[in-house]
């Protein structure tokens, strides 16, 4: 009797090991991060540019990625000293953060908090635009040459090392 039971158990274990469940863990289910999409009327799509660097604001739980057009990227990656040349366009997307459902220990982008553009229009002169909201709407714009303001700060951020 005991032997028969044991044999049966052996079979059950073997079937259990070989068989597999069809249920997909919701964390694994295939999907795009729609929360982090850029929705609104932007002069250009920053995600079409190339990455220059990124940063995280731990206090406000946001994460930003700075992109550039060809002129900006070429400058950022080969010259330690900014100023950016005329024609350079920097764009910065700042997202809120959410826990990465697929990796506890990581945060990934949530809704877009702001999109900013800095365009160098003439030596030492640039325009600045800022978009917020859902859909994204222009909330600030200006021209200037004051390196102490937000645009100046963005232009001073150095590129991330990408060998």
């Amino acid at each position: 009797m005991r032997v028969a039971n044991v044999f049966l158990l052996g079979v059950v274990v073997a079937v259990g090991v070989v068989g597999c469940s069809d249920k997909t863990n919701p964390r694994v289910a295939t999907k795009l991060n729609q929360d982090a999409m850029l929705v609104g009327d932007l002069p250009a799509n920053p995600l079409q540019g190339r990455v220059i660097t990124s940063w995280i604001d731990k206090r406000n739980a946001t994460m930003s990625t700075m992109f550039g057009n060809d002129v900006a990227v070429q400058n950022a990656r080969t010259k330690a000293v900014v100023p950016y040349p005329v024609g350079a366009v920097l764009s910065v997307v700042t997202w809120g953060q959410q826990e990465d459902a697929r990796w506890f220990g990581g945060n990934i982008p949530k809704g877009v908090k702001a999109v900013e553009f800095v365009t160098v229009t003439a030596p030492g002169a640039y325009s600045y635009e800022r978009f917020e909201g859902l859909p994204l709407k222009k909330v600030a714009s200006g021209e200037g040459g004051d390196p102490a303001d937000r645009a100046g700060y963005l232009m001073s951020v150095r590129a991330a090392v990408m060998p």
Binding site: V17, T30, L32, Q48, V51, M63, A80, F104, I108
Partner: protein
């Protein structure tokens, strides 16, 4: 009629006897499974350890206690090989000798394997339902890992010194890179033959991560094939030719604005999709190049086992962890 029935029964009895004898003989084929001494058990609060003890220790420690039905062949063969494999990957009886941060890194991975339903092995759970981690137990593990490390004054001072030296090293690394980034480097392919692709830095960003578990930050980039697949919604399976690059930097100390920036370059990793060429590694060619020297990771092609075992829980998402940001063009 009766004669035929009796002979059939006899045959059946003989078959049963042969099976039973064969089964009993198989019991003698027993690979050894011992419990080596516990040399350095994981350092964690008792409530954390209790959960691991109940759900993980039977395979991931030197304190394996098999119930009687696990000692019966063929179950015993499976269990023995699972335990040996499990201990190789993570042994709670021996990781106490590692730095606290590394012990926590193992726990982060453990929590992820639990959350993704990969651990305890579903096949194991079917036979050992008591090993399941309840949502409450999972919360205990997560809360322990989220809590900031409790540094004493000495440890805090040491951390500050490390941060300062890391910062100046990162500055030097940047200065060197920014003046030489135009020069093509001679980078070796990975041990599995996957080639380094210097153009990764010009691909499109598909996501980014803030990895507070190991104080790094990452940008995930995709080549044109990947971006097109995202735009068209064909990401499971990803088409052949899809290539991802994940670039990792150390997180710096917060600057005057409270921002944490990209510090020292840690590595770039590639995943190249070719369902035929890379059939033995789930259709992906994996590669990792460490440091600004871009040294291929690993000692031989065996390094791929680390990649595939970590990506296994994502099997139903074509082995990809990254959830791409929507709206690609």
């Amino acid at each position: 009629m009766i004669v035929v029935a009796a002979s059939r029964i006899r045959t059946l009895v003989w078959v049963a006897v042969i099976f039973a004898v064969g089964f009993l003989c198989l019991q003698l084929v027993r690979p050894t499974l011992t419990n080596p001494p516990v040399t350095a058990e994981l350092q964690a609060p008792p409530e954390v350890r209790q959960i691991l003890r109940n759900s993980c220790y039977n395979c991931h420690s030197n304190e394996t206690q098999l119930p009687w039905f696990d000692k019966v062949v063929p179950a015993y063969w499976l269990v023995t090989s699972d335990v040996k494999e499990a201990r190789k990957h993570l042994n709670f009886s021996e990781i106490g000798k590692l730095p606290a941060a590394q012990q926590k890194a193992f726990l982060f991975e453990a929590v992820n394997m639990i959350q993704l339903g990969a651990m305890p092995l579903p096949s194991y759970l079917r036979v050992h339902p008591g090993a399941a981690v309840t949502p409450e137990q999972l919360a205990v593990l997560r809360n322990y890992l989220i809590a900031p490390a409790d540094l004493d004054a000495t440890a805090a001072a040491e951390a500050a010194i490390r941060a300062a030296s890391a910062s100046s090293a990162a500055d030097a690394e940047y200065d060197k890179w920014v003046h030489t980034s135009n020069v093509a480097m001679d980078v070796k392919p990975e041990f599995n033959g996957v080639a380094y692709i210097p153009d990764y830095k010009n691909w499109k960003v598909i996501s980014s991560t803030d990895r507070f578990d190991n104080h790094t930050m990452r940008e995930i980039l995709g080549n044109d094939v990947a971006v097109k697949a995202i735009a068209e919604g064909h990401i499971n399976p990803w088409p052949d030719g899809t290539t991802f690059a994940k670039v990792t930097w150390a997180q710096t100390q917060p600057d005057v604005n409270g921002f944490v920036k990209t510090g020292a370059f840690v590595q770039v990793e590639l995943m190249v999709k070719d369902a035929t060429k890379y059939a033995s590694t789930e259709g992906w060619g994996f590669g990792r190049w460490r440091g600004t020297e871009l040294k291929p990771y690993g000692k031989d092609a065996g390094f791929q086992n680390e990649c595939t075992s970590c990506h296994a829980p994502m099997a139903k998402n074509d082995y990809v962890y990254t959830m791409p940001i929507g709206g690609q063009q």
